[in-house]
Symmetry: C2
Amino acid sequence: MKVTILGCHSATPRENAHPTSQFLEMKGRHFLIDCGEGTQMQLRKYRLKFTKINHVFISHLHGDHFYGLIGFLSTLGILGRTKDLHVYGPKGLKEIITLQLRLTSSYNEYHIVFHELESKSSELIFEDEKVRVFTIPLKHRVYTNGFLFKEKIGDRKLNIKVVKQYKEIEVCDYQNLKNGKDFVLENGTVLVNETLTNAPTPPLSYAFCSDTKYKENITEIIKNIDLLYHESTFLEDRADLAKKTMHSTALEAAKIAKLAQVKKLIIGHYSSRYKDLSLFKKEAKTVFENVVLGEEGLSYEL
Amino acid sequence: MKVTILGCHSATPRENAHPTSQFLEMKGRHFLIDCGEGTQMQLRKYRLKFTKINHVFISHLHGDHFYGLIGFLSTLGILGRTKDLHVYGPKGLKEIITLQLRLTSSYNEYHIVFHELESKSSELIFEDEKVRVFTIPLKHRVYTNGFLFKEKIGDRKLNIKVVKQYKEIEVCDYQNLKNGKDFVLENGTVLVNETLTNAPTPPLSYAFCSDTKYKENITEIIKNIDLLYHESTFLEDRADLAKKTMHSTALEAAKIAKLAQVKKLIIGHYSSRYKDLSLFKKEAKTVFENVVLGEEGLSYEL
């Protein structure tokens, strides 16, 4: 699992201060999370395999989280994409994109499948054989979701040394063993699965939470996850502004991380009023030790 | 008069290959011409006074010429703009922008005045006391206009040494002289204006022509102008593609410049298939000497 931060600044974009977007690789899937203006340039800059993206998740309809989407989609069309692309986001996104594609006379060869979100409860919005994605209802000035990406538990791992000791176990039996089944020898002896296999690699999980005011009940959804990105637009010195604009402070992001007992926290979505970003990390560390300061181009791999 | 190229590459944007946008300063006015994705970052990068822009001109509804507009307009709102902003562009642009402002719950404090263009003939679309702007109907895959920016002829310049020799000429008479009037002395002697004033500074003119196939009759509109930007997406080696996609080659851009007898030509809107841009200049120079290769950040001042 690998997350790459393409932009982690709030509101008005500038050079080296791109708006929110992240590229997530999980079990061979490639997900784009939010898509502020300039995202397609950032994807190219960091040489990410953006044509492999099949699923785009948009948290909310504020410009710094989706104004780059139409350009990204158009570029995929120009590059000759034919495969379906799925876009998950608030109601209204489909209207914005389709109007522009129509008025620009874009004849995309590929189909954009919109999944418009309206629920205020967490819901499963994507599932395949290896990954599940759930919404995390957030609280901001407009309807907003975070997203929880969870690997499914994989196969048990064959203890091949032990397995090879039994001539009766053939290659065609391996998948049953990986699935956790015991093996019965011809003489009736039962080989308990745990003696033939080891536990699967623990599945990883990543949650993206932006934008939101401090919302304690999201910790039920993101309990014990491996990695959490939580917005921290302000420091506590401007807690008044955080409250007014429905954003979080670095301290609040850290509180969420602590309550949810996540393994690691990445912060971002910094207000441009702060010049020294290290203060965000310092503030968060006062309540949660394992903090990473989000930065453009930062790749975090587990 | 000063033109700054913010982007001069075609189709899909990448780092150091931004889509079309130009910032034009003329007689103290600040105009934005086209606004591809990332334009607001480029305006900041080159430290241009983008909050002074009151008029935006969009040539056509292809993404690489206007996908940055919604972000630019939103940023002006976030920065607290209250003054009207005028946007000139094809029919449809208003619908695209207003839908996004509505769905993002953007409460701009300023008013965006849309001037939707539909005419297929050149028309005067802006005029104040110092500048006029005309459309230049172009021929592309969608409805497209170039724009001609013309300074008005200014006041005649007082020959102050001569004027001061006549005690009867008072300061309150100066504007009449600047307007070209003769002065009659008390004794009836007529002082011919040309003896008291010099000709005004010649008014400058700039034309922006992108995107378009080779269209010879635009030379009537841009005859003898000081500076012409004309697209040159391809070289003659891909004249077939230029024809098919309704773009121009560098040679064709130069032919237009020569026919219109402009003083200088800037080329741009290069296809990403070409790595060595100097070939564009070389090709154009075979028919028109005074060519500048458009580049990001290039400022051209007259």
